[in-house]
Symmetry: D2
Subunit: 372 residues, 4 copies
């Protein structure tokens, strides 16, 4: 949940907890499906456990902020690099897990259990994040959802009597997005961290030497992307954790660059930018006015001001029907699309995208000026 603990102080759980939780749910899913006479071989079972344990291994510290600033490679690609490396070390024992993870294995439902509309990943993180954040609206009944899983033609389906549990799951997911993952304070904190890392990279590229840990420094000082991400770099990447980022920010509070110093200080002291969320787009004029005012009062350039005044878009679809529809297994053995099977096709709404726009700017502008 990145910096969400700035909003929900209880949200201090780790990716390690999540990996163990997913593994636990996967064991239940395997047991349930076998009871329903879905054959899963010993090898497929082991591969499922390996794949779910490792599915997030490519996430660096503050993953999304890092990806948009310093490490220009998608975390799923890094996950596969790690798996390949482990596969070498373990003499090919991960080959099937990797095939399933990539979606190349012919039995589609195994991949769907790892990554799909009703995968063990989502079931664990929704329940876990709801629990630790205290956003009770996001709690789901993962036990029952798993009991409702079934397989037809190697494809995952939900038994008819589980339809209300799926409805609950989709609504919970929607609410977790708007109340936790897309909470305006989480959004601004993550955006500020991204800006901070972008600024650090920028300063480094102009020759400025910044204080930070050695592994983190490597990524700051080198241009890393998919083309040159070899095993040496992977080993360095594995050394990175949240401590590196937070420790760097703590040091950067005392540097002499206006942008880096202030952004770092604001994050460390939880004195974040003001954020306004709206269903309407933010006008360019509004942004310009804010920029001008801020440049003037702080005596900085417009380029610098853009690190403190920016807009963005957040959106969520609780149910992404297009990417992969959820199918209901009716009592008569037929399959029906979830939306059609729901009372009054009521779930159609949940497949529509909800979009909001946000604007971030320094508090002092609002307090000291007439701009807004």
């Amino acid at each position: 949940m990145g910096l969400s603990y700035l909003v929900y102080p209880g949200a201090h759980h780790t990716r390690f907890h999540h990996a163990l939780g997913c593994m636990h749910l996967m064991q239940k899913a395997v047991a349930t499906l076998r009871e329903k006479n879905v054959s899963i071989s010993k090898e497929e079972e082991q591969a499922l456990y390996i794949a779910i344990l490792l599915h997030d291994i490519g996430h660096g510290p503050f993953s999304h902020a890092m990806e948009h600033s310093i490490v220009n490679i998608h975390h799923e690609d890094i996950s596969i690099l790690f798996m390949n490396k482990l596969n070498q070390e373990f003499d090919g024992k991960l080959s099937l897990a990797i095939e399933i993870f990539k979606g190349n294995y012919h039995r589609k439902f195994l991949h769907q259990l790892i990554s799909g509309q009703l995968d063990m990943d989502r079931m664990d993180y929704l329940k876990r994040d709801s629990f630790y954040s205290g956003v009770a609206e996001g709690n789901i009944n993962s036990e029952r959802l798993i009991q409702m899983l079934n397989v037809v033609d190697d494809s995952l389906v939900i038994d008819e009597k589980g339809i209300y549990s799926v409805e609950k799951f989709l609504v919970a997911r929607r609410l977790m997005y708007w109340q936790a993952y897309l909470h305006k304070t989480s959004i601004v904190a993550e955006a500020m961290l991204t800006k901070t890392l972008q600024r650090a990279k920028e300063l480094n590229d102009t020759g400025k030497k910044l204080v930070c840990g050695s592994a983190f420094g490597f990524f700051l000082e080198n241009k890393i992307d998919q083309t040159n991400f070899d095993n040496d770099i992977l080993e360095k990447f594995a050394r990175l954790d949240d401590n590196d980022v937070i420790s760097a920010l703590k040091e950067w509070q005392y540097c002499d660059d206006f942008v880096l110093k202030n952004l770092s200080e604001m994050i460390i002291n939880r004195d974040l930018l003001k954020v306004e969320v709206s269903s309407d787009k933010i006008s360019k004029e509004k942004i310009s006015a804010l920029e001008n005012s801020f440049c003037e009062s702080q005596n900085i350039t417009p380029k610098e001001a853009k690190y403190f005044i920016f807009k963005g878009k957040i959106s969520n679809k609780a149910y992404d029907k297009k990417s992969e529809p959820i199918e209901i297994l009716l009592k008569d053995g037929q399959k029906e699309d979830l939306i059609e099977a729901s009372d009054k096709s009521y779930l159609r709404n949940l497949s529509e995208e909800v979009v909001k726009y946000y604007l971030c700017f320094p508090k002092l502008i609002r307090e000291n000026s007439q701009v807004i």
Copy 2:
């Protein structure tokens, strides 16, 4: 939850638990509203507690089944009779509570806390029934919902940032209806109990003496309705509890009336009628065919068969906008209708009625005949 423990064995909680729970939530609601500078006098506070503690006191054992067979008076009317009686005993100390309960007091929100779209009654029973039944889909965040309550012009509203909690509440209510209160086995059990009591009344009216407890016997043997429900009858009504009904059914297993004996046996042994639920109406032809087959095989009259073969309709509206819309208090101080305030008016669906039809019939017909 009536006979729902036949479906969910854990659902063994009592109306007494519910009354205490409502009282507890009401205390929180009063504290929250006062913190928001809604003035509530000591007298109004006490009246709220009295009214919520007593709001369900008019429910007899297996309330709805009883109301449709033996005690022809609505439980809310009996609640008021009890309150009036207590008011006499306590020298008028319940007068304000009764005014609020009846909706006659000028400050409308006090009544809404007792009986409305977001009253303490619903908040307690949804959470409690979800907990004890294990239907996790119905769990709600009553703490937060109460924190989001506010009052404008003596009318209850929800603070804007609570809109997702209301959404969750309405969806949870919808799911509790379809998974617990309207669960097909709950429906058939309640219908069978109603039929059993109707049959007992009918037999009594034709002069047959049935074994049962003395208070219960009084209601079986006399025609009681709103016109003659005096204090003596109220005192007798107060003696009734679930034990009377269950004990009577246990005795009636050994009586010589085919209908009463069989219905009683089936409920006591949890060997219920078969029930089929559908979104389409049940045809008369289907019912006739079942009746004919059953009459023939059991050598009984069509009138008797109707106690075992019958249809019905169940319906639910998660949000009954017409009876009383929920209003959102926006940050700018304006009020907005809940549906308009929701993302993409997404909640409009929840105010639409969902209707289903059910058909009950003896298991043996299905097993032994070609009828269905």
Copy 3:
């Protein structure tokens, strides 16, 4: 928990819940022991499940009160009668379960899992009663206790690292006894119910006809003990439940016997006798004085007064070392007695009996007289 709901209103769970819970724990125990390479055959496994599901089946309604008044046969004997009957119906499929239940099977640990210092029965009821009563002091970690189970020479032992969990279990058991099972209000309620049933039996034996359900009436009117408890009587016994007892008490409130009428009324209205608990024995003089005062004020005989004024003894040993010591399996493979293995033999105390004495008497005596 009998009438404990008069003290702890939440304690409304049933013996059926308990049977399911024991079964669930037994499944965990079997899985754990097999993982530790304790061989348990399919037949033994099934027998364990049957035996634990049925271990309490001989309990009648308000079991202990009934046993000391109307049904003069021990509930374990009735359990065996039920099992034998089922064994006939199921062509001998319960034979092994019955052997294990009786303690006749050569592998002792199977019996210990059903009935012993650390059996599934205790683990379930302590946790369940603690949960429903709200006496959090009695909560135990049954999951971990089961994980610590092991078997040496067909006898149950606890792995060394589980010693603190056993300590916790014994302390929790001790606290549940003193805070719930032996709570003074539970004690007085149970004693009053026993007295009520004894009085009913006595009145019946003198020819008085009491109103009650037919199955209950059978036991009231006949002298039933181990010598004449045949299958017909077993069938009648199976019909009894709490409803019969409570319904009878409700009727007896209106009978003309001073003792029966008043005891019934007091239980139904939860207006119990006063009870005093002390570590010293109650003197005969104190009792006599109370009796005299009560006889005089109520104009009743000393024999009648004894139904309202009586003393008793309650005692508990958290750990009954003599009946069967708990053994710890040390890391070196040796077994050691639990007390010796505990820090500073600290657990010796828990094997000592704690005894207390109680005196019950009508409230009005205390209030109206100088006696006490």
Copy 4:
């Protein structure tokens, strides 16, 4: 809980959570005592909240390890320095809180609520650590304990009927010590961290420059103790957090000192020393033999070996009667010492100290040699 997450991965909660939890309990304690007519003024109430919120503020990262290596000043003294500083900033508003915290205020129970046998600190950390670690044996009923609090002569007492809750509290505390705080893996991890920091300090003192964050570096490079701990140092101390220590260890894995490199690596990779716990003291001969073997195999000096081979003592008294006895308020208004009031003086055992001895040494010695 320091490095306990290496044993119990869930134990990832923070001191901030604990401070909020203590505050919450203190609010309940104040409300309970006032209901019992203990007068607590508005000023005393506020002072209690300030004192409990700040009671742990002097803890640095990995507090105990740090105190025994780098920052030679007790955390309670630093807490007072922080409070004094805040008191200046807030114009003396913390004066009463500081008096209470130090135990100088004449109403002793206010200090006992902050720091005593039954203070809010212990109640929160036992319940919290039990919850997050999963060591269910340590769970306590803090709600009820607080409800049993009372005050006689400005001194904290427990109402008689709360005696079983106190027993449960003391046993839970004892079990938490042996299963969590003094778990052998927690012990070895903390000892290794202390050794690592001591080595870093030693290397620094011999002129070696170690990579680490700037605030942490300040404490490594200067000799800080109570005599020179001024406001500037306090400000630097406030900047320290767990990130500094973990980041330093991560860097030190790559340094060229055998001791620092290996200890750092072992902690970061959770590849800890072997630890043996026993009730007997560890002999010098055993240690010498281990040291010799290790020196030889690794080609290091005995002084270096001592960083990997060492012994220690752990001890716990669940109830420290001498420092401050718990007093029970009997129903007759008299006070009685807890031990005397307990059944059979059973709690005397809990006031006896339990002592164990541990020996740490590298795994490879055990595996590769005949020494042990």
